[in-house]
């Protein structure tokens, strides 16, 4: 859980990136590579969109994930 601009962004709040915990091995490649610093580790060491509204929907995370554990299901609400 983190607070951004007074808003609590929980791991279960609306986000368009889905992190498959069956596939994810918590290697941190997505956390390391996200160019906008959106993805951080959450509970139990699994990644989530901590700074959700900074996402550029560039797709780098899904591309870089070695386990294909991230799916961009849709685009940010305001633009999709």
């Amino acid at each position: 859980m983190s607070q951004v601009n007074g808003v609590e962004y929980g791991e279960k709040d609306f986000s368009w990136l889905k992190f498959d915990r069956e596939r994810c091995v918590r290697c941190g490649v997505c956390v390391d590579m996200c160019p906008m610093d959106v993805i951080h580790f959450g509970s139990q060491g699994y990644p989530y969109m901590r700074y959700r509204d900074d996402c550029w929907y560039c797709d780098v995370c899904t591309f870089m994930c070695p386990r294909q554990a991230i799916v961009m299901e849709e685009l940010p609400y305001l633009i999709r």
Binding site: W56, Y57, E74, L75
Partner: protein
Amino acid sequence: MYHVKQADIVIIGSGAAGTMSAIYAHRADPGLKVVVLDKSKMETSGGAGRGMDALNTVALPPYSQPEDVVELMTKVTEGILDQQVAYRFGEICPRMVADLEQIMEREKGDLFPVDENGNYRLMYLHPIDKPLLLPMDGEEMKRALAHAVRQTGAEVMDRTPAIKIVTSGGKVCGVLAVNIRTGHYYYIKTKAVCLTTGAAGRMGLASSGYLAGTYEFPGCSGDGYAMAYEAGAELVNMECFQANTLLKDHQGPSCGYVAAPRGAYTVNPWDERTWSHGYSSGDSKMGAWKRFTQGRGPIYLKMDHLDEQMIQIIEKIQWGNERTSRGLFHQSREQNYRNAHAVELAFAEEVGVCGGHSSSGVLSDTTGVSNVPGLYVAGDVDGGLPHSYLGGALAMGGLIGEEAAHYASGIPEPEQRTGLKAWLRKEAAEFEAPLGREGGLPTSLVEFKARARVQYYLKPPKNPVFLEKAAWWMERIRQEDLPRIQAVSLHDLFKVQEIKSILTVGEMMARSSLFREESRWGYQHWRVDMPAKKPEWEGVWVVIKKGEGGEMTLAKRQSPAHQWEYPTSMEYAYPDLEFDTGPMFQKGPEWKNPKDDPWMKAHLDAQGMATPRRFMAKEEN
């Protein structure tokens, strides 16, 4: 926590230009200590972080020569450029292309297409009669460049953006940076800086309202423009805005550069073409503006006349790299390239400035150096080489790496400013102040306001009243909102720095537009109060620089005399903005209100005062 480091060259921004700077600096002198700073992660940062599909403007014999680049740039800048810089870029294109193949470990003909004679096969796009566009299978470009940089032994500091370029005696002597994940400060003593921070692309707010929904990589918030300005550098063409035709809401490229060379073009619902060529110049922007202003929007990317194979090629390129989420975007809106009027485009949804897509930035010469000794620029922050795109970033990025290495090898350690430790403490305290505030303004709110004002008051057509208002708003937000802004994390704290850059660049855009008392570059600097090009502004730069007293100073400067005689204009005319809206409502003879308003008078008499009660002090019981 403070760390003091020593370097010969600091590269600020490790996008396409910055990575090439590091590689070439190492080649020029492997003994030099090079530090690379990036706000993001070098492997994925910048506009080309996910990949890129072409070098939009390059000269590669025998298809095109350096002179052809000069011709293009002379034409689209309407003669306001240093042709020698354009020629220098054209000269080094073949070297850059060969190096990129070697760095990416790709065979000739694999990364770039070649013809039956082994020559790079360029495509036509630009408004001249020579091909200058080289397609590219560049999905892995940034990873390869980053790998090459790490192999040089350069110290790469990811997530560590610079916040200040420090000078002593007018020369570069250091860089202050902060890690946005640890909060550690770094002061790096250095002889030279390669500034490769990209465009000021997070400026005008697009109508989607999504702050990170930008055409340029949203990390490119004009920090380089602002830092260079604060360090005493001269910036030019800040009135020549970038205003693109983009995918509505997605803000991804309309991909005219992918689709147009392959037979696509833009039309409105009545199949009227917006302009004669796909290149993003002031005249084509004017064409797009006219369609929308006539109420004849939207604009569509027309591809339904192309055969299936060509459509699949376009899809593969557009959905395969750069902004791959566009495939998902089209799918969610049921947009199919095979249908008429499928792909909706919008125009000028976000005004900004950029050296690569337009011609705004830090003025540099044929060696990429600015007026500040030791400060080199390349890529989108560079105003010395206009309309250079990725090819310019790569080629000139490499060039400034070499030039900075030669410079740094030949000079002693620069003097540092006196009282360095006290200065660092002061800078850090100022930078961190928003973290300590309780109940302040959220950063997103302030950014929204600043960028909404930029978009409303700076979007062409320009008039002096709007421009003055834009400058006024930048100052008001600086004075009134910044002291109250609150950051809730280190990640959030850097946004305050980005907002400061947005305000500085917004003010430069406004003041430069006010100063250039004419219209030029089609839509990009269209003053409705002065809708013509004027002879006294031919070949003249508006140069912005920070004055002795801290004020923004502007001056006219003649750009160097042309060595090559090429056309200095595009084919367009400014539209007449007199609209006949027909007869308006006419008041009849009975249509008048009494001079004395009995209802208001009764209220005033009853209250015994001329001021509404709510403004008066409460009566004591």
